[in-house]
């Protein structure tokens, strides 16, 4: 993981168009339309290399649908997902890259560390599956990844014996070890208690900007979005309502605890990830 990428220097939120311009090359460029019953997700997301973007919205806004579509767990109904110049999903061209073949790393909300595997083997799992490494090599690499995130001494523990903050680090190591071209974080802080939250938020704040891959954070907490991301997309009922560069920048991003209190309490069943 090198910090050297030119775009790794945090771009100020005001110049979000810079990210848009470069996204076609290395980053993520996605126009996603997913229909699930009455709910429609219709959103455009661009994340440049080295950029951290947050998708902010209440539960039911379509965050999880968006995340699943990007990860390849849910096919698009229309639109197109391009990552690092490669088309991952385009229903019109009948192109769909399966989840296991996408260079996309996911840190799930409650981490989903495999309970029957030690921390080391959780990380090694991806190294074997995606990079085709052998047993010994993958374990050694896994340990160095754990060490990099400060949990090297916990390699022998099973997920049940890890605290929330530790599990978060292991999950991040597991996702990044597969060398993804896009990192997705699903509610990275919601499973933590208040004190750990601050600590993990600070940890992510230092780690995320150093990644060369684009990072997309899905969250319901405006503070997390504000602290962790360069830019925020506010999602309401499957649609983006404002962006910081757009004209009416105010309410969606105001970091008061009540997130996006705009319209339409339409029932949106799609959020159970």
């Amino acid at each position: 993981m090198s910090t050297a990428h030119p775009e790794a220097t945090p771009t100020s939120p005001g110049t979000a168009s810079a990210g848009t311009a470069s996204a076609g090359g290395d980053g993520l460029d996605a126009r996603m339309i997913v229909r699930r019953g009455a709910f429609v997700l219709d959103v455009e997301v661009r994340v440049a290399q080295g950029e951290v973007v947050a998708v902010l919205g209440r539960s039911g806004a379509g965050k999880s649908t968006l995340l699943r579509a990007l990860a390849g767990l849910l096919p698009l109904d229309a639109g197109r997902i391009t990552l690092a110049g490669e088309v991952l999903d385009d229903p019109r061209e009948r192109r769909f890259t399966a989840c296991e073949d996408r260079p996309v790393g996911v840190v799930f909300q409650d981490y989903l560390l495999f309970p029957h595997l030690r921390a080391r083997d959780n990380v090694a799992f991806g190294l074997r599956a995606r990079l085709g490494q052998g047993r010994r090599q993958s374990r050694a690499d896994a340990e160095s990844w754990l060490t990099r995130f400060g949990v090297g001494d916990l390699a022998d523990r099973r997920p049940g014996a890890l605290s929330g903050g530790q599990a978060q680090r292991v999950a991040l190591a597991r996702a990044l070890a597969t060398r993804p071209r896009l990192l997705l974080l699903d509610e990275p802080l919601s499973a933590l208690d208040t004190s750990t939250r601050t600590e993990v938020r600070a940890f992510l704040r230092t780690v995320l900007p150093t990644l060369s891959a684009p990072v997309l954070i899905v969250t319901h907490d405006p503070i997390d979005a504000e602290v962790l991301a360069d830019r925020t997309i506010a999602l309401v009922d499957g649609h983006e309502i404002t962006s910081p560069s757009a004209s009416s920048s105010g309410p969606a991003l105001s970091p008061d605890q009540t997130p996006v209190s705009t319209p339409a309490p339409t029932p949106a069943p799609a959020d159970g990830f």
Binding site: A71, A98, E100, V106, F114, F125, A129
Partner: protein, 321 residues
């Protein structure tokens, strides 16, 4: 998660299972639960419950009391007994392996895929759970017998016959026992958290690797429980075996058949053989303590019912063979 849920489930069901089972869980667990159930128990419940306990335990007590303990060693050292025991252990183990190889994938298909007629298929493949084993044996004869549906071709083309051979015993036992494994594993797969499989996919694991390294380990307790039930069922299989494979000492005479036959000629030997089967089953039950058998209680109970039915129907069918 899944394990927690099933643990607590089996925890609460222990009281019910305990009474029906000889050599049930230890006194520590019992004491812990008595504290909760100290409320007054209506006599309309405890009276029939106690009668049920007596009814279930009395035959076992009778077996233990009437057992020819002094001559036991001599009876069990007979060649025929050893033959039957070894044959039983061998065939039921083979049937269990077959059930694992074919039953676990079947359980996965039933739990994880959607296709038209899936519900009906599930009902059909679990039919042997409730089907009288003798009927199973007759059906097997009609399908795989020398003049059966595909048995004829097997015999003509490959010179391969199943009925009245040791392989036939294995087939009959698999037919009857595999559904226990399928039901047990499918239940666990249905209640397992499928998001772990999503996580595996995002890490680059294809469906086969996900199945081997994530899905199966997560339902391992249920696979173990199902395997034990399946093996025990195969070991006790009588009706389908005697109908489809016959009763030839050394090749198809398993322990239950030997017990039944010995009862007419040498009752003491029958008792001795029954004791051996009882010992084997108790050993398995103790080895798999209650927490190893989550979600399989109802099967165990049904199995007890089925066993009784099997022997009664077998009484009528011993002759016509």
């Amino acid at each position: 998660m899944t394990t927690d849920a099933s643990l607590s489930w089996s925890g609460t069901s222990t009281q019910a299972g305990e009474s029906a089972r000889p050599g049930g869980p230890g006194p520590a667990r019992r004491r812990g639960q008595r504290r909760e159930t100290r409320r007054r128990v209506p006599w309309a419940l405890w009276l029939p419950g106690s009668i049920a306990v007596l009814f279930l335990l009395l035959p076992l007590v009778g077996l233990l009391i009437r057992a020819p303990w002094t001559g036991l060693a001599h009876l069990l050292s007979q060649t025929s007994v050893r033959q039957a025991l070894l044959l039983s252990l061998r065939t039921s183990s083979e049937a269990t392996v077959l059930s694992l190889v074919f039953g676990v994938p079947l359980a996965w298909l039933l739990a994880r895929t959607r296709f038209p007629g899936r519900t009906l298929l599930r009902a059909l493949v679990t039919l042997p759970l409730v089907l009288p084993p003798v009927v199973g044996g007759v059906s097997l004869l009609l399908a795989l017998g020398r003049r059966g549906l595909i048995g004829e071709s097997l015999s003509d083309w490959f010179g391969f016959t199943l009925p009245f051979t040791t392989n036939g015993v294995v087939v009959a036992q698999t037919f009857v026992a595999m559904p226990f494994l399928v039901v047990s594993v499918e239940g666990a797969l249905n209640s397992a958290d499928r998001r772990f499989e999503d996580a595996a996919a995002t890490l680059g694991a294809d469906p086969w690797m996900t199945f081997r390294r994530v899905t199966v380990p997560l339902v391992a307790p249920a696979v173990a429980a199902g395997t034990a039930l399946c093996w025990a069922r195969a070991l006790g299989e009588f009706g389908a075996t005697i109908t489809f494979a016959g009763n030839f000492p050394g090749t198809t005479q398993t322990m239950p058949l030997a017990v039944y036959l010995a009862l007419e000629t040498d009752p003491d030997a029958a008792i001795a053989l029954s004791l051996v089967l009882l010992a084997v089953c108790v050993t398995v039950l103790v080895a798999l303590r209650a927490r190893w058998l989550p979600g399989t209680r109802w099967i165990a109970r049904r199995r007890a019912g089925r066993g009784a039915l099997a022997t009664t129907t077998a009484d009528g069918s011993g002759g016509p063979r």
